[in-house]
Every structure is written in structure tokens, then in C-alpha cells.
């Protein structure tokens, strides 16, 4: 199953990489440079999956997660949180994400997670991982 994937990362190199990997897999990929731009894009078009960087200027990953949790239209969209810091550090400020991907990641991980999260069971795609 293919879908709309939104990548929110201030680093051009990372956004471009995930974009290239998932476009090759047949998904439609949108990119945003910070959390605020990411939320604005979600408001226009509901993505099926979000890759979200933790540390970003203007609005970071933690703020995006809490904004998404408070918005019924995107609250159920699965989110892969990304950081070069360990998950335990990031989890102090973040909740509500579906999976964590530590940087540097392997592109196979991006592909596997995307397949897994886009093909979850249940009416809202909210089945167990």
C-alpha cells in the first residue's frame, strides 16, 4: 500500500534523502522545514504517515506532537520521531509518537517502518504494530 508521507526536518539533506527513498517506493512525499510548516501542510492535506525530527527551529517535534494530539483530524496519524539523541532523552519531552528512529538511520529502516505503519490493521489504521 502506498500513501502520502510528510517529512518534517530542518536539515535539507535528511528531508531530501527520505523523500528520494520513499518516492522510489511509490509514495507521495511532502516535506516541511519546521513544525509550524508541517502542521500547516497537515491542515491542507491529511498525511498517512509523518516522519518528524525532534530538534528544529521555530517549532520542534515535541510541540508538533502535542498540537497533533489536540487536533482530531490528525491525532491518529502515525508519527515516526527522529533524533540523533537516544530515545530516553527525547521521550522526556515527547509523547504520542508511534515509533522512534535514531539518526543516523539506514534507509531500509525508513522503508520497513513505512510499510509497517501504512498497513496497520483496523478501521483507522490503529491496529497493533
Amino acid at each position: 500500500m502506498t500513501g502520502i508521507v510528510l517529512v518534517v526536518d530542518d536539515e535539507f539533506g535528511i528531508a531530501e534523502l527520505i523523500d528520494a527513498v520513499l518516492t522510489d517506493e511509490g509514495h507521495r512525499v511532502l516535506t516541511a522545514i519546521n513544525g509550524r510548516q508541517g502542521l500547516a501542510m497537515m491542515a491542507k492535506e491529511r498525511p498517512d504517515l509523518v516522519f518528524l525530527d525532534y530538534m528544529m527551529p521555530v517549532m520542534d517535534g515535541a510541540e508538533v506532537l502535542s498540537a497533533m494530539a489536540g487536533d482530531p483530524s490528525v491525532a491518529k496519524v502515525p508519527v515516526v520521531l527522529m533524533s540523533s539523541m537516544p530515545e530516553t532523552t527525547v521521550a522526556e519531552r515527547c509523547s504520542g509518537y508511534t515509533a522512534f528512529m535514531r539518526k543516523p538511520f539506514k534507509i531500509a529502516q525508513v522503508v520497513t517502518l513505512t510499510v509497517k505503519l501504512l498497513n496497520r490493521d483496523g478501521p483507522d489504521g490503529q491496529g497493533a504494530l
Binding site: 536539515e11 535539507f12 539533506g13 522545514i33 510548516q37 521555530v58 540523533s84 539518526k103 543516523p104 538511520f105
Partner: protein, 254 residues
């Protein structure tokens, strides 16, 4: 008795300062690891992507070239970040030395801005360059590149979808470099602390991408070149970084 109390007090004070220094060093190591892991991601990823595509035989030679160029750019980015961290360590230990060579500041500004064409496009910024045709002098080229690099990189990240203006001006025995953005600007409280050493300027839980390391290094490099840097609220909106540096001529170095 009073002396003992005073000595104890002094020891406590010393102890607290040492603990603070250790905590600062630990934060630096954590920040350094982050600063290097982050730019490593596109390098590893682009190579993986290229390998997979080559194995599947689905890339044209033009696509291969495109990917290899991306790897090249990502490597340059990594080397710059590593260089910054090396500078931090050299500055901290007092082993930092400048190396002045003749160069043209206008060329340097144009070339540095050119390296930002992809990231600027990604953030929706257009970078305008306002420099005289030539601006010869002698500077530490790497230090100048780092200063510009950090200021431009911040401008396009903190003020996306807006123009950025980079200018250089010949003031005779001085030159003035400015980087102006039209973003949210920097609050007066933040303006006072952005050039401070990063681990003091932000707590670990507030760390944002790149915040602190870059501007602290910029401030140190400018000071090493006997220049000044100030940040103002640009008239209207955004921020304006102004760097003023001595302009040594080729011959004045001898």
C-alpha cells in the same frame, strides 16, 4: 574557628565550580556527538540508496551522478561541522591560531552563498548578495567561511520562505559584513546570550537544532580577528547580524 569556616566555604565554592565545569564538558560531548551524527545520516543514506538502485539496475548514469553529487555535498557539510567542533576545542584550550592569506571578500561571499542554493530552495528562501565587484584584503579564509556559513544557515532555518540578504562593504581599513533575514527576529533577552557558550545559553532540554554552538564559534572567530559582531532587530522585522573586521592589505601583513 572563623578561618575554618571560611576555608570550608571556599572549598565548597571550588567544588561547585568544578562540578559546573564537568557538567559543561559533558554537555559539550553530548552536543558534539549530536552535531556529528546528524550530518552523517545523509551520507550513509545516500550511499545505501545508490547501492540499492545500482543493484536493481534501475538508475541511469545521470541519476547516479545526481546521488554522488549529493554524497559530495553531504561530506562537505560533515567536514564543516567537524571543523567547527575542532575550533571549539582549540578556542577553549587557547590553541586557536589564525592564518591570514590574501583573498577577495566579494568572491568569498558569492561562493559561500552558492553552496546554499539547495538548502535555500528547500526552505523557500532567496538569498540576495550585495557586494562590490571586488573587495581584496587578507583574512583567515576558513574563519570567514565559517562565520558566513553559520549566519546564513541560521537565517534560512529560522526565517524560512523569506528573503535573506548578505552584504559586504569596504570601509577602507575595515570591512562590514551583514546577514539580514525577515524572520521572527531575536528577543532582546536572547540577543544578550546567543553568543555565550552554548551549554550556558540553553539548558539541555531546550536544545534546538544547532543552536548555540555555531554562534558562539562565530563570536569567538570574530574576536580572534579583532572584529566585532552585533545583532539588531532589523527595521521592520527579522534580525540583522553585522560583523566588522579589520581589512589588512596583502602588504600590511609583512
Amino acid at each position: 574557628m572563623e578561618n575554618t569556616e571560611a576555608a570550608l566555604q571556599a572549598l565548597r565554592q571550588q567544588n561547585a565550580e568544578l562540578m559546573e565545569a564537568i557538567a559543561a564538558r559533558d554537555t559539550f560531548i553530548a552536543v558534539a556527538a549530536h552535531e556529528l551524527r546528524n550530518p552523517m545520516t545523509p551520507i550513509v543514506g545516500q550511499i545505501d540508496l545508490l547501492l540499492a538502485a545500482l543493484q536493481a539496475g534501475k538508475y541511469s548514469s545521470a541519476q547516479v551522478e545526481h546521488r554522488v553529487r549529493r554524497i559530495r555535498t553531504a561530506m562537505d557539510h560533515f567536514i564543516k561541522r567537524a571543523g567547527t567542533l575542532l575550533d571549539v576545542s582549540r578556542i577553549t584550550s587557547g590553541r586557536f591560531q589564525l592564518s591570514f592569506t590574501p583573498c577577495d571578500l566579494s568572491d568569498l561571499v558569492r561562493e559561500t552563498v552558492e553552496t546554499f542554493s539547495e538548502p535555500a530552495r528547500y526552505s523557500g528562501c532567496s538569498i540576495a548578495v550585495d557586494v562590490p565587484e571586488t573587495l581584496p584584503g587578507a583574512w583567515d579564509r576558513l574563519a570567514l567561511e565559517q562565520i558566513l556559513d553559520n549566519l546564513i544557515s541560521n537565517a534560512i532555518k529560522y526565517a524560512p520562505s523569506r528573503p535573506v540578504i548578505v552584504s559586504a562593504e569596504n570601509l577602507g581599513s575595515l570591512v562590514r559584513l551583514t546577514v539580514r533575514d525577515y524572520g521572527p527576529g531575536i528577543s532582546s533577552g536572547d540577543r544578550a546570550r546567543i553568543f555565550e557558550r552554548f551549554e550556558r545559553a540553553v539548558g539541555p532540554k531546550e536544545r534546538r537544532s544547532g543552536f548555540g554552538v555555531g554562534l558562539w564559534v562565530v563570536g569567538q572567530l570574530v574576536a580572534a580577528m579583532e572584529g566585532t559582531i552585533v545583532v539588531d532587530d532589523a527595521q521592520g522585522e527579522g534580525s540583522l547580524f553585522t560583523v566588522t573586521l579589520p581589512r589588512y592589505s596583502d602588504t600590511s601583513l609583512a
